[in-house]
Symmetry: C2
Subunit: 249 residues, 2 copies
């Protein structure tokens, strides 16, 4: 949880039996990690769990306390396996309640094709907020939000459409990242990495070996929010690694 540099954090909770059973490839967390990173938010955890009320409630409760923002994906339709709203209500001790603004939107959108079950999508935790995006255009479908939990649907196209409405809420100073490529193995360079980690507690140093590449054996990353510190740590790393450095990025 504790990154060496400060700034907003997030957890992503994917409610996805279809991912756990291998029927569908996960797309939403993968997308969101990169979006949030670009906005300056550090994702600290991704959990993929089944559509079970108690398990969702427990995970939401834990993430909501640990991270600045929590995003859920999935389980918000009208069928038996859509239990996310009930679970989030349970997580915070709230009552699920029919939201009249959502009900009116569903009735208006469906017209003569309305089925009673469509209205289940208007049953949300009592006290939830509806977020409409920066232009306040209420013709969109809002993002249902409870405390710091943003509830998004599992269908990737709608997930992206809805996240786009709220994304500017999360923009903050960027996370900067440099990379150094080493022709020597991790064991050879480990002591140098240790020294840089000890000297620069404000950056995160990652070490990622690759197999079978002619160009390099290890990619080392230096991440942080303070540009001078990231540059300084990278320079120290390059100096320490000497002839092992293939190139930097």
């Amino acid at each position: 949880m504790s990154l060496p540099f400060h700034g907003p954090t997030a957890g992503i909770l994917v409610i996805g039996e279809e991912i756990l059973s291998g029927k569908v490839e996960e797309e939403n967390a993968r997308y969101l990690v990169r979006e949030l990173r670009g906005l300056g938010v550090a994702v600290r955890r991704i959990d993929v769990i089944p559509d079970e009320i108690d398990e969702i409630a427990e995970a939401v409760c834990g993430m909501s306390g640990r991270y600045d923002h929590v995003f859920t994906s999935g389980g918000v339709g009208p069928t038996h396996d859509d239990v996310t709203m009930a679970a989030i209500a349970k997580a915070f001790g709230l009552r699920p309640a029919r939201n009249l603004e959502l009900e009116a939107k569903i009735r208006s959108a469906m017209g003569a094709n309305l089925h009673e079950r469509d209205l289940r999508m208007a049953d949300i935790p009592d006290g939830a907020r509806l977020l409409y995006g920066p232009d306040g255009d209420r013709s969109h479908w809002p993002v249902v939000t409870v405390r710091n939990v943003y509830i998004l649907p599992g269908v990737p196209e709608i997930f992206r459409y809805k996240f786009a409405m709220v994304r500017e809420l999360f923009r903050t100073g960027p996370i900067l990242s440099r990379a150094v490529f080493s022709r020597e193995s991790e064991a050879v360079i480990a002591a140098t990495l240790d020294a840089v980690v000890a000297e620069f507690p404000g950056v995160a140093v990652g070490s990622y070996p690759r197999l079978g590449l002619a160009e390099y054996k290890v990619k080392i990353t230096v991440d942080g929010r303070d540009a001078a510190m990231v540059e300084h740590a990278t320079a120290r790393l390059v100096q320490g690694l000497g002839a092992a450095v293939v190139r930097t990025e």
Copy 2:
């Protein structure tokens, strides 16, 4: 956690700062979910967390108690961010200790290129088992295992090589799956799904809407271990949905 059908379960713990920061796409959980499903093991949770000892220890401890098998990916090299072995030792109250069999293998493999830091990869939880695969061929690198936790590396090629050594340990009766495609929306078919869910408590029914396809609006899946029950539930679903059925798989 509780699937409607019985059988072995698994949790997957990905220790991957590079995934959380969006630098690398997750491959190992994605691979393992399908392998385990093919072997008859139901994955019930995938967590992606940073390389932090306390967080790994807490996650391993929780998963080890909840699922039959736990697989970890990543954090087993010789650098500062490789803390998985220490974390798993902590999870079970074990001491990290130099394993002589692993030390001998590392010394033999590295020869004159041995670096002291390579030997850190021989420091594993005291009492861990080394698994060599069904042929018992000790020229391979073994899979380090503590209780029901199988510790695998993050580099995808090595992850797959090592999992292949132990995969036959997990084979059990298959999980069967049928699919029914509906031209009607979830709201229209929800009552029929409810009825099948209520009538067949031994199968798992999933409902997955798709946008923008001409062929169908919802894919419904019926999973279980009892072939007759899966067929029976699928037939009931097809009967209940009537003209909404596009096709089955």
